[in-house]
């Protein structure tokens, strides 16, 4: 069913009895051309672009639980392409362009809201590094504007401008950045892929690989063996454990990241704001809740929950930036498992195992990458060569010394 004002009117007049399920909950077939492991945003967008751009529809997305209950449904929904390095920037900008056309492409309301992403700076040195990043963005055709304190005060008059230790001097704004509705992104991609014939198989955990002459020939799952010519991993926080089943060790550690939402308040925060003197980012959802987060907890974790010191740290940073929220109550907090790579950048590449492809290392920035990640992973799976904008996201860059370390932190995943 195509969604439009007419389908809405028709349903409204007939009591909304005729809505069909958005996508097919399929049972697994014995074999496919391509299997994608992981029904998060990246797995589902890969399936969509495989079907739409490359005409490959004999595809299954295998999800161990229900689609979108991993990081795809846990993130703070910020989308942006304000990257410094030439290996990252064109990739994230492709993603931004795909976001801009996503609702038309999927015929689904993913609530993409380009309300702007503002990174605040609090010192001369920080301003200089933001100027450098802003210039790098502009050289790649990405929008970037440097604001001074007066401009920021006009946008966000409630911030603590008088803070003696970390005065707000200004910010780097990407006007095209913003937010999107994470669950809708999952469902939109699932619906579009399913509509082209892709099987979305839930409660189907991959527990091992089938081998044939040294290459993978399929997967063992909780719903039986399934064969495929090519297998793509898009399991985010579980990347190491699934790769381990194929005998691979990866430059990745799994870490927990927490997020928070407050009770609903009247419209206050018009854009995404990030604090430059601590790790804190916030936006306001359409329901009115403040959606915010900070750093990862900082230790290896597969538990989808974090600890209290991080909660305290995030809330302290929030209070330092906007004391006005002091009496707003936190409704919920939760955690998700990040596949933190050794240089803070993702990997979309073949693996040393023939037939097995890797999409991982998204750290805590993978939601914004959902469209381009799927686009480039589909390209790699279909053509066996990297997409132009994903050429730098190689697995062998660590051995070769061509790291993509935006922050310059070195091989210490909990600092990226």
């Amino acid at each position: 069913m195509r969604y439009s004002i007419f389908s809405l009117l028709r349903q409204a007049l007939t009591g909304h009895q005729g809505w069909a399920p958005a996508w097919r909950d399929a049972a697994p077939k014995p074999a496919y051309e391509v299997i994608i492991v992981g029904g998060g945003g990246h797995g589902l967008s890969t399936a969509h672009y495989l079907a739409k751009v490359h005409g490959i529809t004999d595809v299954a997305v295998l999800e161990k639980g229900f689609i979108g209950l991993g990081n795809a449904g846990r993130n703070t929904t910020i989308i942006r392409s304000n990257y410094l390095l030439p290996g990252n920037n064109p990739f994230y900008e492709l993603s931004m362009k795909l976001w801009e056309g996503l609702e038309q492409d999927l015929n689904y309301n993913t609530m993409v809201s380009q309300r702007g992403v503002l990174n605040l700076y609090h010192s001369d040195a920080q301003r200089d590094s933001y100027v450098r990043r802003g210039n790098a963005m502009r050289m790649h055709g990405v929008d970037a504007e440097l604001l001074d304190a007066r401009d920021v005060r006009r946008m966000l008059p409630f911030l603590d401008f008088g803070n003696a230790r970390f005065p707000i001097q200004g910010g780097l704004l990407q006007p095209r950045g913003g937010t999107a509705r994470h669950d809708a992104v999952v469902w939109g991609y699932a619906r579009a892929a399913s509509g082209r014939g892709v099987d979305i198989v839930q409660n189907c955990e991959v527990t091992g690989f089938l081998w044939e002459g040294g290459r993978v020939a399929g997967v063992r799952t909780s719903r039986g063996d399934i064969r495929a010519r090519k297998i793509g991993m898009a399991v985010a926080g579980n990347t190491s454990t699934v790769a381990h089943m194929a005998g691979l060790r990866l430059p990745i550690e799994s870490h927990v990241l927490q997020a928070f939402v407050s009770e609903a308040i009247k419209p206050l925060v018009p854009c995404v704001v990030t604090y430059g003197a601590g790790h804190f980012y916030v936006s306001q959802s359409d329901k009115g809740g403040l959606v915010f987060g900070g750093n990862i907890d900082g230790y290896n974790s597969y538990a989808q929950r974090g600890n209290l010191p991080t909660v305290e740290d995030v809330c302290e940073s929030g209070m330092a930036l906007m004391p006005a929220i002091g009496r707003v109550r936190v409704l919920r907090s939760w955690g998700g498992i990040m596949d933190m790579s050794m240089d803070g950048s993702p990997i979309i590449d073949r693996t040393p195992v023939a037939g097995l492809y890797l999409n991982g290392g998204w750290c805590y920035g993978g939601f914004k990458a959902t469209p381009a990640s799927g686009y480039c992973f589909a390209h790699l799976l279909a053509r066996d060569e990297p997409h132009e904008v994903a050429r730098a996201l190689r697995l062998d860059r660590f051995a070769a010394g061509r790291l993509l370390d935006e922050k310059g932190q070195g091989p210490q995943p909990n600092l990226h």
């Binding site: 430059p251 230790y299 305290e312």
Partner: protein, 88 residues
């Protein structure tokens, strides 16, 4: 999460700094394939879902480096020893 420091007793995790997997070993300078061995040591991680032996520094306490065995699925601390002791 609380870590039982051998010197200071059970303390809040906020007093500690995390370094990572305690399995790191600097390859001997005369090892064959030194570049490969370094790549392995610096970048590749076991990253298990389960017991993990890792290094923590008690910065707000006694300043000792500890090796902590912790279940990454539950955050349960299974054992704490000084980093200089041989692992169990």
């Amino acid at each position: 999460m609380r870590i039982e420091c051998p010197f200071c007793g059970e303390r809040d995790v906020a007093e500690f700094t995390y370094l990572g997997d305690a399995a790191f070993r600097r390859p001997p300078a005369d090892a064959p394939d030194l570049a490969g061995r370094y790549y392995d040591a610096v970048y590749l991680r076991e990253n298990p879902a389960g017991p993990h032996r890792e290094l923590w520094y008690h910065g707000s306490g006694c300043h000792a480096w500890l090796q902590v065995t912790r279940d990454t699925r539950t955050h349960e601390i299974l054992a704490v020893r000084l980093a200089t002791e041989t692992p169990e």
